[in-house]
Structures are given as C-alpha cells and as structure tokens.
Amino acid sequence: MSGVRLIARLDIKGSNLIKGIHLEGLRVIGDPQEFARRYYEQGADELIYMDTVASLYGRNSLHEIVRKAAQDIFVPLTVGGGVRSVDDAREILRAGADKVAVNTAAVQRPELIREMAHVFGSQCMVLSIEAKRQASGHWEVYTDNGRERTGLDVVEWARRGVELGAGEILLTSVDQEGTRKGFDCELVRAVSDAVSVPVIASGGMGDPTDMVAVVREGHADAVAMADILHYNRSTIPDIRETARMSGIEVRQVA
C-alpha cells in the first residue's frame, strides 16, 4: 500500500507566502523558503506552490522561489499558477518543479492537458480544480482563485481531465478554503470515486482529525495543508501521528 500523502501547500503572492479565506482576502505570512524548509525538515511528503495572482495578471513570479527551494529540498514540488502553455510548464520544470498544476488555462483550452501529458508525461500534469458547491448539490468549476465561474460540473471536468492525460487532481474547495471548518468530504469523495488517478484534497483543514475524515469519508489519496501549518496550530509529525493512531497508512519518517 502507498500511504496517504501529507502535503504542505504554499500560496504565493509576489515574493511572499500568503494565506486567504475562500482563496481571497490574502494575508502575508512570511518568506516561503523559510516555511518550505521547515515543512521539509518536519517530514512533509510533498510541497505545493500556487501563485495566487499569476492567472490574474498572466505572469508568474514563482520561478525564483522554486529555484531556491529545489536547491535543498528533496521531496516532490508541484507548482501552479499562471501556466498557459507547454513552454510555461517547461520553464517551471527547469526551475526545479516535478509537477505542474494547471487550472484556468486548461479550462480555457482543455487540449493543453493532452499536450502537457504528451510532452512531459501524465505524472507531471496535475489538474487543479477550484470547486464551489451549488444549491443543487453539485459543484461548479471556478477559475482565478474562485472568482470566475465556468459553468462546468466538477466531477465531469475531473473525468474529462483524466481522459486528456491528467495524472493527478488537486481539488480545492473554495467554500471551505481558509475556514478551518474541515474539508468538503462529499466533494472529495465524488471526484475521487469518479477518477482513476490520485486526488489531493485541499481547503478547510482546521484540525488533524479533519485529515482523517477526508481520507475515510472523502477517499482522498493525499491531503494539502496550509493555514494549520503556517500558524503552527499543528505540525506534520503530529498530523502523521494522528493518521497512524486512526489506522491510516502514512509514510514512516525516521
């Protein structure tokens, strides 16, 4: 068995690590490199960097941050935000990323998923989905950090993305993000059960037990954590221990 991955998510604006609520109202937390190192040393299984403004301004300021991180952080780095083309993805990979997450540009032009999977392999192509719950009990795909609606159904879009070659899905609940009220387990389960590739649940972790819920009830393959780590409300070793006590398989860290 492969354990559930505990992933530290770092949202970036300019040169700063930031955190918002519902992906908005961003607040500066500090130097991303300092936090990234701390999470690596604590035993994070992976790191995710998301440039929160790149898709808004059509640029990406992450390269320098990623280049620095890749110097001495030896776990997988997923990087997203503002990736619009195969060339953009190549630049990020050259900076030291292992996987590239795409949201807005894939919605605008789904073929980008196929192109990236073809050039770099599916293992490199992470489809990032921002999901907002609708009155009807469905979820709609949003882009640009939860600002723009797309009319797409989340589960259908996830299926389509996997058909096109996405090797993994980063699923962020805009409703839960930054609220500390727990994950949207129904959302995660709906997507995880619909696709053959791993799903990373993101948004809402208030307490280590929320991770247990999203793995058990949501069938998450990996859990992304931000706020809970940034504000030191818990640590990766504590969360790992909670997982182990609950019978959830996680990496053994010496």
Binding site: S2, D45, A70, F74, R94, A95, F120, Q123, S196, Q252
Partner: protein, 213 residues
C-alpha cells in the same frame, strides 16, 4: 576537478533535481550527451521520466544506447532511475512493445488496475512506499540500499513496473494493492531504482551517498 558521476542528458525530463541531489551529497557532477564523456566517468546515472519509447528514441538518436551498454559491461557503477531503470530491461509493454537496453533481463508491464482482492485502485501509483526485501534476499549489504531498514519509505510515481526475468535480480519490492512490485533491481554493478532517490528525502540522499561511495 575530477568528475565523480556523469548524468546522461538525452533530451527527456528534468535533470535539475537529480544533479542537485548528487551535488548535495558532495559529488562533482557532469551532465552530458557525449558518449566519450559518459564512458570516461567513474559512475553513470541514467535518469528519466515519461514514456518508454520516447526515452529509448532519445538514447538511440544520440548514440547513447550503445554507450550505456558498454558502460554496464565495464564493471563501473551504473544507476538507472525511474524510466532509466525501466530502460535497463529487455522490453516494455508501454504503448506497444518496445525494446529496451536488455542489461537486466526482464519485462516492463503495467501495474494491474485492481488490487489483489479485485478492488480498483489508483494508477499512476504516486506516493511513498516502504522498501521490502524480496523473497530469498536476506540483506541489502553491499548494494546501494545498504544500511536501510525494511519499510524505509521512498517516493514513487509510475504506471508500469519492471518484472525481472531472474528473481535473483530483485533488490527491493514495494507493496501496491497487495502485490509485490519491483522497486529496485540489481545485476552486479548495475542498479535500477523505480523510485526517485532525489525526491525521497533523507533516505534517498543516503542511497545516493551509497552509490557514490
């Protein structure tokens, strides 16, 4: 400066992390697509991600397939990582049948889409898995896994796995869906790792140091 290790650049994937991890372990690294440079190095690394056929084409177009085979025959340490490990095998079933380097006889076959109990599970296999001693192997002493404990976890991302023709070439397995899949293979001076030592934290760096020593 004398070179400790050469990394083969055959136009596929990102060599930054592999290079950086070896440098972090104190090695002087050269990245090259020149067979002469590669053959002159004391140690050789064949990295790679992506599709098998693309990888083999990348090697063949540069005349590097023969160089890797020649290096393997020299007795100097050769390390294949991920796709680099798979290309050490004889043949792959990924998108049709494709010939490999045939340095360690075996087939590259898809990971079954269901667990041993018949339940669907996620492919690609992405994540950290514990390294296990295969049946018939009592220790990793004298291999790149020396001083590791059974269960030490490494990072894998793959949809295909190597099935060595000779069980004696299995160096480490991992468990996925109740089945043993090959995580590392070894034949004499040639090691293949399905996982990414450059992305496996301190365990991975330990393996890299073993390869360098």
């Amino acid at each position: 400066m004398t070179v400790d290790v050469a990394i083969i650049d055959y136009g596929i994937g990102n060599l930054f992390s592999v290079r950086r991890s070896f440098e972090h372990c104190g090695a002087s690294v050269v990245v090259s697509d020149d067979p002469e440079v590669l053959l002159a190095a004391p140690r050789l690394v064949l990295p790679g991600v992506g599709a098998f056929a693309d990888g083999m084409r990348g090697l063949i177009e540069r005349g590097l397939d023969k160089a890797v085979v020649e290096f393997a025959g020299s007795g100097k340490p050769l390390l294949g990582i991920c796709l680099g490990m798979q290309m050490l095998a004889s043949v792959s079933e990924e998108f049709g049948e494709h010939k490999g380097l045939d340095i360690i006889p075996g087939r590259v076959a898809p990971i079954p889409k269901t667990t041993l109990e018949g339940k669907p599970h996620k492919i690609p296999h992405i994540g950290w898995s514990g390294l296990l001693l295969p049946d018939g192997l009592s220790s990793w002493q004298g291999t790149v896994l020396e001083e590791l404990a059974s269960g030490d976890a490494v990072y894998l991302v793959h949809s295909y796995a190597v099935q060595p023709a000779d069980e004696a070439h299995r160096l480490a397995d991992c468990d996925y869906g109740g089945r043993r899949i090959s995580a590392a293979i070894r034949k004499g001076n040639v090691h293949g790792l399905q996982f990414h030592p450059e992305k496996s934290g301190s365990i991975g760096l330990h393996i890299i140091r073993n390869f360098l020593s």
